[in-house]
Symmetry: C2
Subunit: 364 residues, 2 copies
Amino acid sequence: MSKTYFYPPADLHQYIVDYFVHWKVPAEDATLAADVLLSADMRGVDSHGLIRLSSYYGSRLRKELIDPLSPMQVINETATTLAVDAGNGLGHPVSVRTMQCCIEKARKYGVALATVRNSNHFGIAGYYAMLALPEDMIGICFTNTSPLVAPTHARKAVLGTNPIAVAVPAASSRPFVLDMATSIVPIGRINVYQKEGKEIPSGWGVDAQGQVTKNPAAVRAGGALMPLGGPELLRGYKGYGLSLMVDIFSGVLSGAAFGENVGNAAQDKRSNVGHFFGAIRIDAFRAPQEFKADMDLLLSQLRQAPKAAGEDRVYIHGEKEFEAADRAAAEGVPLSEATVKTLLDGGKIDGTPFDLEPIKVIEE
Amino acid sequence: MSKTYFYPPADLHQYIVDYFVHWKVPAEDATLAADVLLSADMRGVDSHGLIRLSSYYGSRLRKELIDPLSPMQVINETATTLAVDAGNGLGHPVSVRTMQCCIEKARKYGVALATVRNSNHFGIAGYYAMLALPEDMIGICFTNTSPLVAPTHARKAVLGTNPIAVAVPAASSRPFVLDMATSIVPIGRINVYQKEGKEIPSGWGVDAQGQVTKNPAAVRAGGALMPLGGPELLRGYKGYGLSLMVDIFSGVLSGAAFGENVGNAAQDKRSNVGHFFGAIRIDAFRAPQEFKADMDLLLSQLRQAPKAAGEDRVYIHGEKEFEAADRAAAEGVPLSEATVKTLLDGGKIDGTPFDLEPIKVIEE
């Protein structure tokens, strides 16, 4: 039995803004960060939303490990490219601004790419890719993360769960929004199985000897997550390659930390996370209305494909999240009991009491 | 027991050029196609090299399903983008020229992207991405292919094995060259298991009901390949998403066929394959020597990671292929008995006898 609390989106948004402003984050930056964090909970990606407000962002602001003033600086700029230093600020405001700049440049030159170094955890990568959608552009976003994934044949985590996000508009269909970690599952999923005393499926992680294990505790105690694909027989080295590619674009190209040097939340040092952004104007290649009509056709081929036994729906990437966001807008944003507890506890520690009234509470 | 024949690279290259010229392909185009095909066999990717010369390219030139004159045409061009129609010519020459044009544009503007529509199978995607390496650029190449992969929850192949290739230079280390199908294995791998009467590993493919099967015949008879990741529990929908992303960039953005409409070798119709290319100048973001030194550091973190029990080496993507190419340059290009047989048979049918002398023949 666990409870889910539903809150009005605007109330949660205001609470996040107030929380960051309390920590001396400028109001405009706090608003951008709130947009991204709330979007995660609305889209059902609750691992990347409010649950991190105090536990990740707050805890690092409190220890002065994140600079609330986010003194971002442009290091290198051309007509089509931008390299930014985030000044160890929050990851969200610098990422929104950098992606907006990409979109501006792509408007003029067809395509633009940008890197950010010296940043922090920025929430859901898909948020930034999706900023391109209203412009009839394709949006791209990568970020590196602290090491959790062992490359094929190794037993130590050297690479992060380094996500890939790509957003593409369609006509009458919802946009295609791929937003995927390059590991099979995030570490949070392993934690859930451990808490519930359950075995994890074979392939999610390895133990400290690098052997595939069903024991979640073994993954966490010196083991590692497996890259997408899992063991070599199922071509896990492709997932490893994708994770490495993301680290090259986000960490190496930006001049941020990379590989085992990317900081994590528990370390009392600057994280130096790196991000990568891209925007591509569709009309540089073909008329957007033709492109979007063809997107509808392709997506409907997938939706209408004959189903495997026992299945009744083929999903397009992003579809579940758009549906969750619609529900959240109508019924309130669902927060788990665990998330509400971190907000209550964090609010007490930080002197920013979380006293919002839920619209409803569901127990199941 | 099977034989491997080793040939001098230059002899094989000349044979391929002569073969295409026989089919009225202009000598310059034939040379570009020979570069790509020979490179596949030298790099150990023998599924994409000479074995296809007669069986794929020859058979379609013979039936006039590929236009040997490859009348490529620029449809749309900006300072940073290029959209090309390949005129149903060979996939290789148009792809080399389009990638070269990307590199030219990136030299001036930092980044450039290009699409090709109305094309054919172009060999290994990695070849085109690697053209960027000597320029201190990152190279990108995608292509769609005829449908072989079932999206998650479906039982019918709607998407191709749609590969992703990314090439990134390093300093003293070999470049990173990711060149991966977004399915777990190619259909050729299933065929090999079927011929040898062996079961396939669970996860490679599904049967006509969409159920995971170990029977290779069931995959080929109405079944489908699984996307990278395999079943839903292991997040195969991420591989499905990557395959769909490649089809969007290669098929939809270019105006080529996409999804289930991409032609295959056995169909007596134009394939209308689409490709996507990109080049990114590293010095738009940071000094190339710093970037490449950091690439060395990242790759050495991976190589030096503690090994899993029973393993003694962590590979970087492309490393095995570079080593194979070095061996082929020194000892001759290894061709399997099956490949030599297709060359002998094809040569007879086409009036282009394959009468090269091998340097050596190894039986094992």
